[in-house]
Amino acid sequence: MKLELRGITKRFGALVANDDINLTIEEGEIHALLGENGAGKSTLMNVLYGLYRAEEGEILLDDVAQHFAGPGDAMNAGIGMVHQHFMLIPVFTVAENVMLGHEQTRVGGSLDLAAARARVREISDRFGFDVDPDALVENLPVGVQQRVEIIKALSRDAKVLVFDEPTAVLTPQETDELMNIMRQLKAAGTSIVFITHKLREVRAVADRITVIRLGKVVGDAAPTASNEELATLMVGRAVDLTVDKAPAAPGAPALVVTNLTVIDALGQILVNDVSFDVKVGEILAIAGVQGNGQTELTEALMGLQPRVVGDITLDGKSLRGHSVRQVLDAGVGFVPEDRTRDGLVGGFTIAENLMLDRSNKLPFVKRFNLQLAFLADFARDKVKEFDVRSQGIETPVGRLSGGNQQKVVLARELSRDLRLFIAAQPTRGLDVGSIEFVHERIVATRDAGTPVIVISTELDEVAALADRIMVMYRGRIVGIVPGDTPRSVLGLMMAGETPAEGAAA
């Protein structure tokens, strides 16, 4: 089926998220929609899927104009979507998830689960998916859940399938498998829209590429275009984001982690017997696909995980079993991976957020009383030092942009006397300028002699910052390698393969 979007314009208040976008996807082609985070790709697809109503423009399927009042209409017209955040109900089985919304019933109104199971098996067999229709979705690994999403779309006879950032949660291996599935679907005549910001994937699988920037189509490209050409189109200027940093001068080990294991409430082992150290004056990057224990590892270091076995020592003093308060007081600075959830109180002012983890003693508190005058001076200083753009220190941080929010977190953490600095996904969702700023501050912290841990799922960030790289897979350390390890090796390690040379560093 041929899909055409003509002059789509979508506004949110004063903001134009999609500005007069034209896009044609031919039958049986894989069409990549390339753009930075926030460029408007997902908005466009939500318009296509009937989740948003566009102010202007029209959607045509095989040259017939469509009017979608909701996702139901879009699905009936043959459009399917594999969402970035899976739209699956965790406590339902695969079959129940697949049948939801177009249930077949038997006499008496009871659900025809047998028919749904058969449908799941049939599609699953056709593409070699190996999905058990009676498994509960919450018990399935991420990669399998994504297949359930695909089955869900195909069970409604989708002719146009939209994949919204499908590889964000996959290992390189799983990504390759997904590419194969896409090619299979294409061979079966399905048109595919592949939304991504990863250049390599686009070049591997797409037939045509449309680049979107700031809500506008800025160009088309063939898959033969070079990385540089695509990147320049995507970002709008020549990009050079390498970080200037001197070689590390590592000193004695500061943080020593021995045989650390983290278990969740259900008995799942999230971090499995890991041992490593971080030396004074070096950046250790922890790489890995999202969800392989990195988050839980940092939480265990911070005292945020209740069930921890093993040892953590900082400068010779044990940190295991200590409360977050004690860990912070021991001189650990922490930038959490989800800053709006864990790093900031959105309704609090910039000033209040700057004292968030120091609400116990001087200089911010004197005999139970907040020292508001001191706080105001402190906040004004930090706002200037970290270049936080706002209406003033009384602005609620919830109103700041992501980059400025992250600067507030950094300002707070780096203004303490640190013995260890942990930054988790420090640049996720930030604009180019803020990324540069954050990277510079991290390197400066290292150069000041503080041991630094950076957790990142982005290989490019890992490569830019790390002095040593530790790769995690399924809760274990695959290996610890030097900072200049080739990305092909890192990619294999992220899929769980131990590097040939062994853990050299």
């Binding site: 009936n76 969402h83 965790p90 339902f92 939801l100 278990i263 008995g267 082992i269 069930r307």
Partner: protein
């Protein structure tokens, strides 16, 4: 209370394509709680045991088949039951030690034994009319069950229903007026459903359309309905009691054959129409929620509204109509007060039944059958208090009345098993 088994040897080997590595966390909660109750039971039934004989009357005079009374020597029965309780406790401890789950039926057996022991102890040298005790329990449980079903439907679709009390009260009020004016209890029943729906409309409008916190709307609605019915009662019903507040009550209907089964018959099958409707409602809600398209969509909206939206389910509409349905069901429970038991409306006559129903929803883990059982248990507790106060109870009646609330506190504190509510319950769905 939890211990972690050695973690370096996961119980399952973990290959690259299998699920995540796991280890077993032993929970000693169940044995500890059973142990506490065993000790309490032993203290009550043996250490402070009472001598004499307890008589359990199993038949009513009108039964076709007359069962003989059961005579239990009070102290020996207490000793036997204490031993059995200790045995079950030990068994559960062994199960936990060997990494097994303590099954629910074992806990149920424990509870029933404890109950029999308590009854025997309390009725030393007295007669306990078992059918009467159970019949009264069911009667007291009827509005709780309707309320709990309303709560289950509403919470399963994602709207916390603290307004059950208001729905019951509104149902009681309107059914009294309509049934009095028309002299038709069935029309009263219908009116009660409409009243429940109206209360639900407000709950739905404010929580779904205006995103007001659902608990706040619920609490305020209870006050509003209390005020409205109180005002109208004083202004309208009280001055015209003869015409407006004398509804005809439902007659008892004996179901042929079934009503002659010993013990069960008199309890379950010599009831009024509302009670029979309640049986059907429990079955229908259970079947509907777990086996029909309606239920699948309802649960989907309550668990993950966005996912439901993306497959073309109208989240707002589903929530709105199901909250309304919940109101209708709870309204029926209100009608039971005026048309089934009391026979006239009185100010604040529901007296907190809505909150016990809410407790039953949670104690029953958002499952219609379990919630019904919980409501029956609460009905039993309060009727046991009635019966014991007649025979001269050794336990102050206030403590018996306190029981449902204490049990619920234990339940939400996780002492009676983990329970997980619908994931999106209480959260407004704001479409961006």
């Amino acid at each position: 209370m939890s211990t972690i088994a050695p973690v370096n040897q996961p119980t399952q080997p973990t290959g690259p394509e299998e699920g995540p590595a796991t280890t077993v966390i032993k929970s000693w909660k169940v044995p500890i709680i059973l142990g506490v109750f065993t000790v309490l039971g032993f203290l009550l039934m043996v250490v402070f045991g009472r001598t004499g004989t307890s008589t359990m009357v199993l038949s009513t005079s009108s039964d076709l088949i007359q069962l003989p009374d059961v005579l239990l020597p009070t102290l020996p029965t207490g000793i036997v039951i204490s031993i059995l309780l200790a045995g079950i406790t030990a068994l559960s401890a062994w199960m936990v030690q060997t990494h097994r789950k303590v099954p629910l039926w074992l806990i149920s057996v424990f509870a029933v034994l404890l109950l029999i022991g308590f009854l025997t102890w309390a009725s030393a040298d007295e007669r306990i009319p078992v059918p009467g005790l159970l019949f009264g329990s069911l009667s007291l449980a009827v509005p709780l069950i309707f309320g709990a079903l309303g709560g289950v439907i509403s919470e399963r679709v994602g709207v916390v229903n603290v307004a059950i009390e208001g729905q019951l009260l509104a149902g009681a009020f309107t059914s009294a007026i309509v049934a009095s004016v028309t002299q038709q209890p069935l029309l009263g029943l219908l009116a009660a459903m409409v009243a429940g729906v109206l209360v639900s409309f407000v709950l739905a409008a404010f929580s779904i359309k205006y995103f007001v916190d659902q608990v706040i709307v619920g609490v305020v609605l209870n006050v509003l309905v209390t005020g409205l019915t109180g005002f109208l009662f004083s202004e309208v019903l009280a001055p015209n009691a003869a015409t407006l507040n004398q509804p005809p009550k439902f007659e008892r209907i004996n179901i042929p054959l079934l009503s002659e089964i010993p013990i069960i018959g008199p309890v379950f099958f010599r009831q009024t129409l509302i009670v029979y409707i309640m049986y059907i409602a429990v079955a229908a809600v259970y079947y509907g929620i777990f086996h029909t398209k309606w239920g699948l969509r309802l649960r989907a909206v309550g668990e993950h509204p966005q996912a439901a939206d993306t497959v073309g389910i109208n989240v707002t509409g589903t929530r709105f109509w199901n909250v309304s349905l919940a109101g209708a069901v709870a309204g029926l429970g209100g009608a039971y007060f005026t048309l089934g038991s009391v026979g006239a409306f009185g100010k604040e006559m529901t007296a907190g039944a809505g909150f016990i129903a809410l407790a039953a929803v949670i104690f029953g883990r958002w499952d219609p059958i379990r919630a019904t059982l919980a409501a029956l248990l609460f009905g039993f507790a309060s009727n046991l208090q009635n019966v014991l106060s007649i025979i001269g109870s050794p336990v102050p009646s206030e403590f018996m009345l306190m029981l449902p609330y204490l049990v619920t506190i234990f339940a939400v504190a996780g002492l009676v098993g983990q329970s997980r509510g619908p994931a999106a319950s209480g959260k407004p769905y704001i479409k961006s």
